[in-house]
Point group: C2
Chain length 405, copies 2
């Protein structure tokens, strides 16, 4: 999928009242930009979702405590995750917030969220980062989003950025999202980060459930290698600069907003899977017939993370036995006698019975760079989930084994 | 690890009153032996452990119902798993039991356990197998164990067989174990099988708990690729032909027997990891400081199955950040501030603090074909577990991706 490149984002989608910038502090050995700054001109409402890892990095611990009364800025460094760095790591993360608050004129460090991504277990070069924050603040501009999106990348093959605009009443509102991650996961380059900013006026209490739902259906519904990061963070900021009629619960405007956030997250998530180090296929798993959506999600995750399934995809082999084996091992209710599996509409298992499917048709499906597999768990329940996964190729292996050696 | 070959088993360990044989039915395209028969001259006590997969294969379903009043024979075919084969699969598995019962003079098919291993989703060539059973019965001999061990292999690189003998009072007793599996897992060659036979007289009710404990500490404490099979089966037969003073609960003789069964299972399990398709390293994970043994086991499994950890091992990289990431994501109580990680005694994380470990020493450890990693979860609890894992190499990938394509 190396040829694939994401569509550009029109600047007409950029939200008002936000500025962004990037700079180079020398954290990355490549000397590419490694510090991103996102600033809201006014205090914005915020919601965030963090990694549940018990080894959550210092910036995650600090950001969890911040932003409860609004956010003025997000600062993100890349090349070093500031994870497993103990008390010093936490001091450094707090220093990043303090330097950012000073540079952008925030009331205090608690109005700043901080993120880091990169190598685990190495202290940050905090002085250089503090200088970088001051430099980035000088460079802030309303069109700096592409620079910020580039600066949060580590080993990503391409920039991940998605925009939306739509009307709320008489006013046009805007939403932008940027993300980094090529997998959950890089060799020590753990971390998936995503930042969304909108100028829509939204009832503050709506942000959290809307973001949580979007994350569940996007960033938590992808698999590159099944590993979870110490730094995963998704932040949604809403500053109200569009001065629309406020979006309040249970209205059509909420539904539009929900769809926009979910859509931006899903597109970013699919980009992360496409960028899965060395991946050659993007496979959509549509699971239905589960007892609940949660059960469907769990079944999809089990298939998506099965190494043997990933190998079958790499080998362009419609080897559904590996899907059955993964489902059978998942802690999920599945009725083998009623289970169905289809590759882009061509059934190979129909209510538990083997189907003599057209081998040429199946071979053509799995040769495509993108295809979908439908799985009915056969319980008769209403649960369903959509999940995206990729293969693991020799390139992934070389990259992840040879790094550092 | 291709150079490694298992030590031979002396025929003096072969248990009395058992005969074994192999034959070729033409299930395997290679035309190598593909049917194994193990027969006890008298009705033996038996215990078995089966895969918990919801897609358990037909022979698993049939064997679960058999042997409750004793076992005369075990029949195993290789090259075809008879899994996901519906009602026909179950009829075929029952036909194998019936043919075996006739051939060896058992009272009925319920005295026969049946196993299959190989490709999923393809019906068995049952007529040829029935002929093969009759042929194998003609070939039975007290020294046929090596033939049987070869016949259950699919893509295994070497035969897996372990023997023990020891004294119970005045009498010498014998235990033999054979296994197949190169991973949990082969390309469609799912299934780990193991058969243990002893001539010791053992109280029948002891067999099940002793086998369950041994399986937990051996076959359930290994990871090649984290995938679970549809056909995994471990069977222990005890026919009492050694005519020793019966081994009864809570005696030294029980402890000896327990150690022997556990030792044979552990050696067979380690052979399976060594044979992990293309694996280059055998890594022992010693987890301690867990709330319970079960928690320690779960933590070890999470590290052992992490793709990124396996890649680090392949790359000979003492990259403990991937261990921390896997522990952080596991559903296990771990105290990062008190957690320690050491490579063969060289600590890299000491009660949550980074250690500037001797890099040359660490590099030397991970270059070895076998080494151990100790992990203390830092809860202060008594739980511990030992787990064996291996890397995933380009050879695994080529083998599992290219198969069938």
């Amino acid at each position: 999928m190396a040829q694939w490149s994401p569509p550009p984002v029109e600047t007409t989608c950029y939200p008002r009242g936000f500025r962004a910038a990037a700079t180079t502090c020398g954290i990355k050995p490549s000397e590419r930009p490694d510090l991103a700054l996102i600033v809201s001109e006014t205090l914005s409402s915020a919601a965030a979702v963090f990694t549940p890892s018990r080894f959550a990095a210092a910036p995650v611990a600090v950001s969890r405590r911040h932003g409860h009364n609004g956010v003025r800025a997000v600062v993100a460094s890349s090349g070093n995750a500031n994870a497993c760095t103990g008390e010093r790591g936490e001091r450094d993360a707090m220093a990043m917030c303090a330097a950012t608050a000073r540079a952008v004129g925030a009331a205090g460090p608690e109005e700043v969220m901080v993120c880091s991504t990169g190598v685990i277990g190495v202290p940050l070069p905090i002085e250089r980062i503090e200088q970088g924050i001051a430099q980035a603040a000088e460079a802030l501009s309303a069109t700096g989003w592409d620079d910020a999106a580039d600066a949060i990348c580590t080993t990503d093959a391409f920039r991940k950025m998605v925009g939306r605009r739509w009307a709320v009443g008489e006013r046009e509102v805007h939403l932008i999202g940027i993300a980094k991650g090529a997998g959950m996961i890089q060799p020590d380059m753990a971390t998936m980060l995503a930042f969304l900013a909108t100028d829509a006026r939204v009832e503050a209490t709506l942000l959290k459930p809307i973001l949580q739902n979007a994350v569940r259906r996007s960033f938590n519904s992808i698999s590159v290698d099944g590993d979870m990061s110490t730094n995963d963070t998704v932040i949604l900021l809403a500053n109200g600069a569009a001065v629309n009629e406020p979006i309040v619960a249970a209205t059509e405007a909420t539904e539009q907003f929900d769809n926009a956030v979910c859509g931006v997250c899903t597109e970013l998530a699919r980009m992360i899977v496409r960028d899965g180090e060395g991946a050659t296929k993007l496979v959509t798993l549509d699971v239905s017939g589960a007892r609940s959506d949660e059960q469907a999600h769990r079944a999809a995750r089990a298939v998506a993370n099965s190494i043997l399934f990933k190998m079958a995809i790499l080998g362009e082999d419609p080897n559904w036995g590996r899907i059955a084996a993964a489902l059978g091992a998942a802690e999920v209710e599945v009725h083998p006698d009623a289970c169905s599996i289809a590759f882009e509409g061509t059934r190979v298992l129909d209510s538990g019975r083997l189907v003599n499917a057209d081998a040429a048709k199946l071979a053509a499906v799995v040769k495509k760079p993108e295809f979908a597999i439908a799985i009915d768990l056969g319980t008769g329940g209403p649960g369903q989930a959509t999940f995206w996964t990729c293969d693991i190729s020799e390139a992934y292996m070389r990259f992840n084994a040879d790094y550092r050696t």
